[in-house]
Each structure stands twice: as structure tokens, then as C-alpha cells.
């Protein structure tokens, strides 16, 4: 989207207010999501950005006759302040003292009997419930069918029209029919006969297709309803052209995207309907007849999808070799920049590295796209956890500085997500101490053995412990689930102590997550070391079944940043074994110079 003037945003807010008067709406809520509660959304859904000019990944607005307010989190305070300047929109800094949450703000400001409007397709049932709960006793009128920003957005981007395509079964070895059968078994167990799903990655998983509606996420805008006998996929026919035959062969009926609302409304009485209210929009939820019994919890597609098949894991291993080679080449290149004129003259930028890395990734035949916007963060940029370089921030790399690279790719063989932090030239002792502490946390988690039933919430401390011992920490989770050629963030498991509930999911073999402790010193540098790991069985004894992890990622750690004095013998052994494996798998992808460097950098940490 082009940058627009502050004045234009003032005009847009005014235009919205006129729409609000016409609609009889006192407060209008502009959430950040799409119809599917997706983490990434396509341009059509960027109403908040259209209205405010603020283009961070997290932001929601409230507009009333008197004011316009935008909530975003700490990552974006500076950027939002800049982008909102002159628009009259007040920045609400989430989490800061005295700054109310949206629901509390509305509770304070709205008067009895006033009307709150929003586009119910962009708000989850769970979020709406929490809003209503906060405003309980205020007799608020809710208008959930008004897309007022849509009314004033003349050149609004259309919904995307990417074609869905079949992911061959050889990549997963779990057929559409088998997956439907697994889902129906879960439905039987839960005593429900209708399942409604809006999560795009769940739907792509279930029916074995992929799409291209959303950047980085190979999914297609769609809903599905599964009953004991039927499976209906709601997707625009033009987009479903290439998957129709295969799906129909398995008895899946394809209907128009918008048909779900009328179909749900026409449901017979007495059904027991399973849906996840955090992952379904209000309009879908309201279309389910009120006499239906609702079973509101994680969809079986959500939980089943999280456990990869052996074939998927095998392909992930292969994808990580290709992907690891690309990043390893970049690291070799970065190392070679030390004391060069090119570097000293500021001619190598973050975006250069991103572009070069993408080029290496694209050499793989089955590479599709990046799995998220690449984070190449030089020096102090590394301390900004979600920093993404763009033309306005793009910094030149400097000698004797750290570069944090968090990137990933989508391959037919799976999704990758890897972070390495490297030093160009000579690190300081402080850099080494912190890097080594982060690395200790990373390998403590990946080498853990744990009893069946253990959740990520319990494992999280293993990655933090070496940092806590130095009075350090990181304000993000330790690990998130990763899809198979799907979203780079998925559930149902994660490794964190956060409130989402996903941290309570016990690990089972086949679950893939990231392992990414870090430490961030504002204004100085950031360090993060991220591998993808897959849960595997370890041993069964009289005391139970024990699981562990296998590291999928294959990229060397930066030995220049490792302080071996801080490592135990066991830790040194783990790193040496890993490096041996990295060399063996990647050496054939390296040219002569790269191979020489790789051999050198992956040799045992302590020379005898």
C-alpha cells in the first residue's frame, strides 16, 4: 500500500463518522483480522491500515464521534507514533500503565443504550464474548453486520483469487479419506455430529490442498462443514478448479465461499455442533441455529494437524538440508566480509542479505516462497524482536558487529524457520557470554528427555535457565508449532509459560516446534538461536514412556561467539555432534571455499 498523507487519514476518519451516523452507530470497532482469524492477512483486510496509515502487524481501532484510537503493542510504539502524526488518532500503548484495554476503554466511555458496531466477520466469537462480558450491565446494542470501512474504501483490494492446488499424498502419506475418518472419530468421541472450521491451515491440511491467497501462508480463503456423512468445502469455484476432481472423488462437496451462512442457518434442529469460538468469526457462529448444542473447543483438525506423519517428518529433514545449505552459505559470506572495503564502505545492507538468502533458497526446485518476512537485523536492530528491514530502516552491516537472521522457507517438503546470530569479525566478551548462554538454553531444550504427558509449559524453563542464572531473559515464548508447508506458527502445542493454553498440550512424537531462546539489549544487539525440533520417542521403562527431540535445522552455530569455558563437557559433546552432522549433510552443497570454511567452523570446539 502507498503511504498516504495525514490529511487523507483525517478525511477517512471523517468519512467513517458519516457512515456511523447513517448506520446509527456510536462507537465503531476496527479489528485487525480477516474472516478466519489468520495471523497474516491479505491487503483486502487491512482496514486499520487504510484508516490510520499505521502498517504494523498488530493494531486495532475504535472510532467515535469524538475521537479515534489505535491500540498496538510495545514493538510498534515508535513506528505508530510516527505514522499517526497529524491524523488526530490517539495512540493507545498496550500494556503501559494507565492505558486501558479496548474493552475497558469502551466500558468507561460508552453510555447505557449506545450502539457498538463492527464487521462480525473479522471478530472471533471468543473476542466478542469477552467484549460483551466487559460491557455487561450497560445495555449496549451490538451491530455486528456493518463493514463501514468497506463502504468508504473506494479502491479496496479485491479478495485474492489464488488457485488452490493438490499437495500430492507422497508428501504426507495420509490421505484425505484417512484424515476425514480421523476427524469423524474425534467427532464421535465428543458426541457431536457437525464440525464447523474456519482456520485456513486446518482446511488445507484436511483436504490436502495448498493455496496462495496470503503471502507466506499457502492457504486459500475457505470454510468447511463436516458431518458424519458429508464434507462441504466453501471456496470460490474459480479457485477450486484444480482441486475439484480430487476432492469430489473423496466425496467432498464444493460450494461457494459465501454459502456457508445460509447452509448453517438451514440446519435441522437438534444438532450438536463443534466449533472453536476463538477461531471462528461472529457471523459464522451466529448462523448456527440457536437450538443447536454448541461444543466450543479446539477443532480436531487443529489438534490432528499438529502431529506430523513419519513421511512429513522425513520430508522436513530433507527440506532442512536444502534450507540449511542456503543459510550456511550466507553465514560463510558474512564471515568473509570482515575487514573488506565493501563492508567498511557500508555497501552491504540488511536487505542485500535478505535478497541473497532468498536467491540461495530459490535454487531448490521445490521452493515456493519465504515462510514469513525475513528478519535480517544488524547491530542494534537485533534487539527489536520483530524487526523487519524495509527501505526506510535498511541498515548497512558493520564490522565486529552481530547480525541476527530469522528466516524460513516454504518447500513442497515442508516449512522451515531458523535463526542464527553471527558476528562479522571480532566479538566482545559480552557478546560471547550472552551468545553462549542462549546456546546453552537452546541445547538444554533440544536434548531434554521427558516423560510422556509433559507439556511445553513445563519444558520452557530448560531454555531460560542459563539466562536466568545471569539475570537475563527474553520476553517471548521459547517455541511455537510449525506447519507442514503451512503456517509457520501453528498449534496446538507450544513451549511457553503464556496464557494461551497451548503450553499445556502434552508433547507426542511427530509434533514439530521451534526452539528459540534469545536475549536483547536495547541499543546494543540481539541474539537468538532457533532450531526446529521434532518430538521423538526415546525409551519405555517401568517408569513410563520417555520422549525427546530431534533437531531438524542444520546450520552451524557461530564458534567465534562460543565461550567454551561456560560449557559443560556434555554440552560440548552435543555441539560437536551437531556440527559433525551439519558438515556431513551440507558439505556437498558448498563450493570449495565454503566447504573449507564449513569444515573449519564445525570441527570439535576444543582442539587437542
Amino acid at each position: 500500500m502507498k503511504r498516504t498523507s495525514a490529511e487523507e487519514h483525517v478525511n477517512r476518519i471523517e468519512a467513517l463518522r458519516k457512515e456511523m451516523i447513517t448506520a446509527g452507530t456510536d462507537y465503531y470497532y476496527v479489528p485487525g483480522g480477516d474472516f478466519h482469524m489468520s495471523e497474516y492477512v491479505c491487503d483486502h483486510f487491512k482496514c486499520r491500515e487504510f484508516l490510520s496509515g499505521f502498517d504494523g502487524s498488530n493494531g486495532e481501532m475504535i472510532v467515535s464521534s469524538e475521537g479515534a484510537y489505535l491500540w498496538t503493542d510495545g514493538r510498534y510504539f515508535i513506528q505508530a507514533a510516527e505514522q499517526l502524526e497529524g491524523t488526530g488518532i490517539e495512540l493507545m500503548k498496550m500494556g503501559e500503565p494507565g492505558v486501558p484495554k479496548i474493552s475497558d476503554f469502551l466500558k468507561t466511555h460508552m453510555e447505557n443504550g449506545q450502539t457498538l458496531g463492527f464487521d462480525g466477520r473479522c471478530v472471533s466469537g471468543g473476542a466478542f464474548d469477552r467484549l460483551k462480558e466487559a460491557l455487561e450491565g450497560k445495555a449496549i446494542v451490538y451491530k455486528t453486520e456493518d463493514d463501514l470501512v468497506g463502504n468508504i474504501w473506494n479502491d479496496r483490494p479485491e479478495l485474492p483469487d489464488g488457485k488452490a492446488w493438490i499437495l500430492e499424498n507422497r508428501y504426507t502419506n495420509l490421505t484425505r479419506a484417512e484424515k476425514l475418518s480421523l476427524v469423524r472419530t474425534e467427532m464421535d468421541k465428543a458426541g457431536c455430529d457437525v464440525l464447523v472450521v474456519a482456520s485456513l491451515d486446518d482446511i488445507a491440511w484436511l483436504y490436502g490442498f495448498r493455496g496462495s491467497d496470503i503471502e507466506y501462508n499457502p492457504v486459500t480463503l475457505s470454510y468447511t462443514v463436516v458431518t458424519r456423512k458429508e464434507a462441504v468445502l466453501y471456496m470460490e469455484p474459480s479457485k477450486a478448479e484444480d482441486i475439484r476432481t480430487a476432492l469430489e472423488r473423496d466425496g467432498v462437496v464444493i460450494k461457494r465461499y459465501e454459502d456457508i451462512f445460509d447452509d448453517l442457518k438451514a440446519m435441522d434442529a437438534g444438532h450438536r455442533v463443534w466449533t472453536d469460538k476463538e477461531r471462528i468469526n461472529v457471523k459464522v457462529l451466529d448462523s448456527i441455529p440457536s437450538d443447536a448444542k454448541r461444543i466450543l473447543r479446539w477443532s480436531p483438525t487443529f489438534t490432528l494437524k499438529g502431529v506430523k506423519t513419519e513421511t512429513e517428518v522425513e520430508h522436513e529433514r530433507s527440506a532442512h538440508i536444502t534450507d540449511g545449505a542456503a543459510l550456511t552459505k550466507i553465514i560463510c559470506y558474512l564471515k568473509s566480509l570482515h575487514e573488506t572495503d565493501e563492508l567498511n564502505e557500508g555497501k552491504v545492507t540488511e536487505l542485500d542479505i535478505a535478497s541473497k538468502l532468498l536467491g540461495y533458497r530459490q535454487e531448490a526446485e521445490d521452493f515456493i516462497e519465504e515462510s514469513f518476512a525475513p528478519i535480517i537485523a544488524a547491530g542494534p536492530h537485533g534487539a527489536i524482536i520483530h524487526y523487519e528491514p524495509d527501505e526506510s530502516t535498511n541498515a548497512a552491516l558493520r564490522d565486529n558487529d552481530l547480525v541476527l537472521m530469522d528466516t524460513g522457507g516454504q518447500y513442497l517438503r515442508g516449512t522451515t524457520d531458523v535463526t542464527r546470530t553471527v558476528v562479522i569479525g571480532e566479538p566482545t566478551e559480552k557478546m560471547k557470554r550472552l551468545y553462549t548462554a542462549v546456546l546453552k538454553g537452546n541445547i538444554a531444550l533440544s536434548s531434554a528427555v521427558f516423560r510422556k504427558g509433559t507439556s511445553g509449559r513445563r519444558l520452557d524453563i530448560l531454555a531460560r535457565k542459563p539466562l536466568w542464572e545471569l539475570g537475563l531473559d527474553y520476553n517471548h515464548g521459547t517455541g511455537h508449532g510449525v506447519g507442514f508447508l503451512l503456517n509457520v506458527h501453528e498449534g496446538p502445542q507450544n513451549i511457553s509459560s503464556g496464557p494461551s493454553g497451548m503450553g499445556d498440550t502434552p508433547f507426542v512424537p511427530g509434533m514439530i516446534t521451534s526452539d528459540e531462546p534469545g536475549v536483547y539489549l536495547e541499543g546494543e544487539f540481539g541474539i537468538r538461536t532457533e532450531n526446529m525440533i521434532v518430538c521423538i520417542p526415546k525409551e519405555s521403562t517401568d517408569f513410563g514412556d520417555f520422549y525427546g527431540f530431534e533437531v531438524l535445522t542444520l546450520v552451524p552455530f557461530d564458534r567465534d561467539l562460543i565461550d567454551t569455558e561456560m560449557l559443560t563437557e556434555e554440552e560440548i559433546g552435543i555441539i560437536d555432534d551437531y556440527h559433525r552432522c551439519v558438515y556431513e549433510e551440507l558439505c556437498i552443497f558448498m563450493d570449495e571455499k565454503e566447504r573449507k570454511w564449513l569444515a573449519e567452523t564445525t570441527r570439535p570446539l576444543i582442539d587437542f
Copy 2:
């Protein structure tokens, strides 16, 4: 209680059935607790034991016209089977496949409109809610006021009449008035104006008294109701004689134990009443007028009590020196038994050791009683987690075998709880491997540094990790809160992954818990190493406040059982530091022979 014949128990069940007919009760529920949901109960409350003859610490019964059933857990399957023989009572093995929970049993067996009776004073509000929920839709009639076992129990022990006594403020440095003020502040925050508490240790804590109604737990049967202006202690006047003056001086009103029911019923309309439904009996709960708003969660007395004052911690340190000396003397004695005739002839038994240890503890002037029934478990007995030797099980110690000792004392200076496992003579390699793994877990937890906000649920894994790596585990929590001259088990914090919710309580400085990993090999031996630890502040950095633990317990680990090959340098340093401290604090309590041995056993693990 004397052992009675099976026939007598048949008669008692029959007598109960006659009472049930008179009362119009189809099913009668005999829970295991007292009026205060205490973990330990006095003889007056042992209805289940009176009825069945089974005297394990956990057991509940259901009696109907057709059958009588007793539920207990795995610790007691063998004992219960023996004690129930010939009584016609069916043993329900909790947790075994196909064995229903009491609520599910009632759901299956009870018919619409039937009556379930029990003594509502012995069932918590929470337990009753769960029962009603399970039986929902069955139109069951509940009779909660019938103590039918009481009707047939002729020589029932009276309620105890131990006198309460004042614990001088110098032991706690937090006065009654200060505690009442803290409680009222929490009440204000919660927006409630009446607090009802039945937990005996909470009440003793709040009013700064101790009692002697229950063995091992220095508490007195009582309830309390606190309002913004008033504080009423419900306790029999004869028991309150020695505390009346002090309490009245602080405005506390003392009324008869039974008066609480009428007082609550007479409450004005519109109060907001705070009580913890898991820790209050049904009769008290039902006495609160139905128009009162109920706030059902942990009482502020429960949470405040869990954080010890600096003075209490200082006294605990002192108590642990005295207590540690007693146990250390016993260990020295056990070590001296190797290859003696006394040992070889089977002349030293578990009960001998318990008695000798009690003797040493009694040498302390302020020793009051043991804090729980001592566990002295030789050889295979060590694998029975809650083994307590009695005349029927008492085993002789054997050479080259392990002895597990889990004991504790009540002192004016606080409560202790310590476990040491020692070998008499030569251990096997297996014993050493397992002992060292348990020890690694113990010190990993006690030496942990963690960020403010960290709960025991997250810390638990630190103690298990070294065991999990060997395919071992223990089926109990890692740590429980410990009272200050109160119950050896208390909340609100603990270190476990269990469902109680206490594991989610963040640690704050002043919280005391145990640290007790173990491993149990049925038929062979058991190992447990338990220290008491207190949470202390460590450092504050830009990344937050960090806490850790100080070890209170001072008793040497058994160096004969430590395999130094399995330890890191850091672990060896921790053990050596601890042993140095043990020697310094305890040597003055040792006689010459003991001192020589203590110096030897606490010297650095690796000789140079």
C-alpha cells in the same frame, strides 16, 4: 483403635443399614475427613475405620441396602484387602481399570428420586458440588445432616479437648493485629465484607495460637468469621482459656465452637462473603444466607500464611540446625552398624531407629512433637512411598542395604521435614547411580535461579530431569509448602505438575517448600533426598527480579552413595559447599566419634 473382628464389622454395617431405613436414606456416604478438611484427623472422626476396620490414611465408603464399598488408593490395596476380609465390604481400587469413582458409581447405581445421605460437616462444598454435578438429572434427594455412623458408634472417642496456647510474637514478628489488618486489606481488594475460614492452620496462624487437638499438627478445632470490624473465633471455651486474654485484647471475640452455624444464619442480607469451598464444610456453607453474594476462592489467610516473615525464616534456620544434628547422629550410628553382630543378628529394627531419632530430637528444649509419623524404611520398604513402620511390619535393618528416613519435628522455632537415604556398608553400583541421579535433581532445584512470577509447576522439571534421562521418575510431587510450627503440608505454593492449582502459585521470597525427588524400585529399595528450601531474592536486573532458594536442612548427603563421575564440576561445588556448611553448623553437637565421622563424610568429594 483396637483391631476388631470381621464379624463385628458385618454387624456395624447392618446396624448402619437399620439407621438408613429409619432415616429414609438409600445410599450413605462415609467420607474420610473431619469438619475442617484436615489432612490428619483425630480419632473422633475415624468413622470409616470404625465401620470397616481399614485404617489406612485414605479411604471413603458407600453403603446401600445391597452392598458396602470402600475406595482407597494404590498405597493401600494390599492392606485394605487384608483388613476387609470377611467384612463383606467390597474394595474399590482407585485408579484401576474399570473401577468407577464414587460419583460415577453412584451415577450408575442410584435410581431417580433416591436419597443420598452423609454428614455434611465432613464433606467440603467443592466435593459436594462435584457429586451433584455427576448426578445431575437424576433427581437425587440429598440429606446432608445425618451422622448415622455416630448413631451406632457407642464408645466413640470424644472430640479432643487440648488447650490452645499463645505462640509468642518473637517467633513470628507479625502481630495478630497486623495479620488481621493484612487479611482485611485483601478483603477490601476482593470487595467482600465477611470472611469465613474453617482451616485449622489458617486460624492458628491468624490469631497466633497453637493447639494439640490433632497428632503432629499443633492446631485446635475452631472456625473463624472476620468482618471489617469484627473477628470471631469459634472454639470451645475450655480450650480457649489460655488464649482468651490475649485475643480479646486485640478485639477478637471467642464464642462456642457450634455457634458459627446460628451466627451465619442470622447474618443480615446483602453481604459479600468470602470462603474457600474446597476448605469449608457443607454445613457451614449452607448456613450462609442464600441472599449473600459468595466469593469462592482461596482464603487470604491461606495465601498470606504461606509467606514466612524474616523472623520465622530465621527461626527455621535455627530449628534446622538442632533437627539436622539429631538426624546426623542417627546416620553416624547407622554407618557404625556395618559388619556388627548387632546388625547381623537382626537386632536393629526400623522402630528402633525411629525411637532413637525421636530421643535425639527431644533433647531440644523447644521440641514439641514429630511433624508426621516417621518413615524409617529398610530395604524394599523404601520403595513403598508412604510406608510407616508399625509392630506388624517392623523390619530389621540389613548390612549393605539402604535405609530411607523421612521424618520431621515441631519446634517453637518451626516445622522440619527431611529425608535422607543412607547405605549401611557397601552399596551396589545401581544404588549409587540412582542415588546420584536423585541428588542431581535435588540440587538442580535448590540451586535454580528464576524470574519473579515463576511457579512450582515450571520448576518441577528441574528435579526430574536427571531421572528422566535414565528412564526413571517418581509418582509424587517434588515439593510441598511447610508451615511454621503448623502443618507439614500447606499451600498455597507447591512444586509439582499436578492438577491442584497450587503448582501455579508464583514463588515469592519467604515461601518455604520441600525439595524431594526420589526413585522407587518395587521389591528392591527406595531413594528420596529431601531438603526444605526457602525462596530468597537473588538479583534485580534490567530483565526483571530474580529469585532463588536457600537450603534450610542441614544433614550430610551419603558420600558412599555418590558417583562423582555422574556430577558436573558445578554440582560437585554445590555439594562441597553444602557439606562445609553442614559441618560448620553441626560439629558442636557431635561427640568426638561423631565429629570425626562428620568431618570425614563432609570433606570435599574429590580428594586432591
